[in-house]
């Protein structure tokens, strides 16, 4: 076997899901005997068989990736419960193994994956998808680029029908459930729990949090929610928007001129044009204060 063949075979085994008792499977998902594959590649030693030696890597792979996703998707965990969450993570990682050099991007395909698989969020599929969208936006906004904000003078000199450039970190989400409030509650509870644990072991600072003790939250009723996920002073915030404002920002984000964006907003929201134009000044003053308009 050459280097490429060895590595392909080893990674193929390491990425096989663990058994219920968190050991390495006897056969791959497509039925090949793992012991035979491993014995041909890995040496045993006087304490461990070839199988047991590779099993260490198999277990580390799943523990590390599941731990990383669990940290990123605490809201989804609360929405669908621990058992469903664990099954979902394994299935997702099996279908969508990491294609990025950084664990930051591990959940980047979760929304698309979950949309087609309601069985992983029984009776809570829509709210689960909403929560995944919000949690991914939160990750993405946290370390996205920020461009120089437009000054008031620059804003005044943009002309009659300008194109506004929005900050690269700004994300717009139309949600069927108000999951923003829910996520904030979940995080608040999480922080309280962390504080309590720090008090218990005040000489040790824990970076990670065990995910098994989790308060149950009552889920919100459906309510159309328009959200801007944005950043202020390096912190991520969720800002509710009126539907017309949401549509207007969406059109601006697509690079439309202001007049086109107003038209798009009126058409999309089915509201009178005067309703949109009447609110323009207030919306723009607020968005400008938040620094959402930037140089090209």
């Amino acid at each position: 076997m050459n280097l490429e063949e060895i590595q392909r075979a080893v990674l193929g085994v390491i990425q096989q899901p663990l058994t219920a008792s968190e050991g390495m499977r006897k056969r791959t998902l497509d039925g090949k005997p793992i012991k035979k594959i491993v014995d041909a590649i890995i040496k045993p030693n006087d304490r461990l068989t070839s199988f047991e030696r590779l099993e260490i890597y198999n277990r580390v792979y799943w523990f590390r990736l599941i731990s990383s996703l669990a940290e990123d998707y605490q809201g989804l965990h609360s929405v669908i419960g621990r058992r469903n969450f664990e099954k979902l993570l394994v299935a997702y990682l099996r279908d969508c193994p990491s294609e990025s050099f950084t664990l930051r991007n591990l959940g980047s395909r979760l929304e698309v994956w979950l949309r087609d698989r309601p069985q992983f969020a029984p009776r809570r599929h829509r709210i689960a998808v909403d929560m995944v969208r919000l949690e991914w936006a939160d990750i993405d906004v946290f370390d996205s680029d920020e461009r120089p904000k437009l000054t008031e003078a620059e804003l005044r000199n943009l002309g009659d029908d300008p194109v506004f450039h929005l900050q690269p970190y700004l994300r717009l989400l139309d949600l069927a459930y108000p999951v923003d409030d829910l996520l904030l509650k979940i995080r608040e509870q999480q922080e309280q729990q962390e504080e309590q644990e720090k008090d218990i072991a005040s000489n040790v600072v824990m970076e990670r949090e065990p995910h098994n003790r989790r308060k149950r939250f009552s889920l919100p009723r459906p309510k159309k929610t328009y959200l801007a996920v944005h950043r202020q002073e390096m912190n991520v915030y969720f800002k509710r928007l009126e539907p017309e404002a949401f549509a207007l920002l969406g059109a601006l984000q697509q690079g439309k001129h202001l007049s086109e964006a107003i038209e798009a907003s009126v058409e999309w929201s089915n509201r009178n044009v005067t309703h949109v134009t009447g609110n323009l000044h207030g919306w723009f003053a607020n968005w400008s204060k938040l620094g959402w308009f930037c140089r090209a």
Partner: protein, 304 residues
Amino acid sequence: MPANRFNGYSEYGVGIGLRIPHYQHIFEKKPVVDWFEIISENFMVDGGRPLYVLDQILDRYRVVQHGVSMYFGSAEPLNREHLRRLKTLVKRTKTPWLTDHLCWGSVDGRYSHDLLPMPYTFEAAKKTAQKIREARDFLEVPICVENVSSYAEFHASEMTEWEFLTEVVEDADCGILLDVNNIYVSSRNHSFDPMDYINNVPHERVAQIHIAGHSKFEKYILDTHDHAPIDPVWKLYGKTIELIGPTATLLEWDDLIPSFDEVHNEALKAKKFQRVKPPAQSGDAAPISPYAKSGSYVAEKARI
């Protein structure tokens, strides 16, 4: 070696890893620290708090970049997006040298996020060295490769790990980040004498040293970085310094991280070994009792 072409002819002393639980202490107390090692991947982003924090650190401290996912040993080509982002960060930090692991971790663009051990073959050494040269030419900074701890060995191997390391660094003409704890862990997991390893790597290429803590299980040792180095690792460090001279040293502590002062004071123990004048030749150091080894993992992905 104290200063050589693989560490930018610098004398950095003893540093610690820059970790989130210590940020508040660092910014408030502004402690004197020789240097900080950062995990490159945590800062290869477009903006936000990670870069804001990094810039504040760079204003006050010397920083060296340490990567966990270049995977020089993967058979597939280097990831160009990774390299591009890494170069942007190199320009920001002005790191005098850059380190990553002598390992593999991806196949066909799929990532394990682990530091997987190499089969020690001449084919692997040649391909790995080629990738290190490519990365160095693109990044325009000296590169040093770190030996990993491991739990498995390959039938295909044609040489020892230290022979493989030597083959790669000589071919690539790069430096070595010698992880003494990883040598100890691997020596126990694979039953070899750690001094055989340390005596036989090209000392003139060692640009930096890592020390760390590990965890012992019934049949193997795992490289966990969750407590202080044990005495045998410090002794091994001392022997290494006797052989190669005072060298930039970094204590890794990535999980169950105690206070800044505890980590820093532990790291500073290295200073007492660094005061020892190296003898002209010492190849007969007492062997440390053999054990087993495990695979090192450095914390990646930080929400800062």
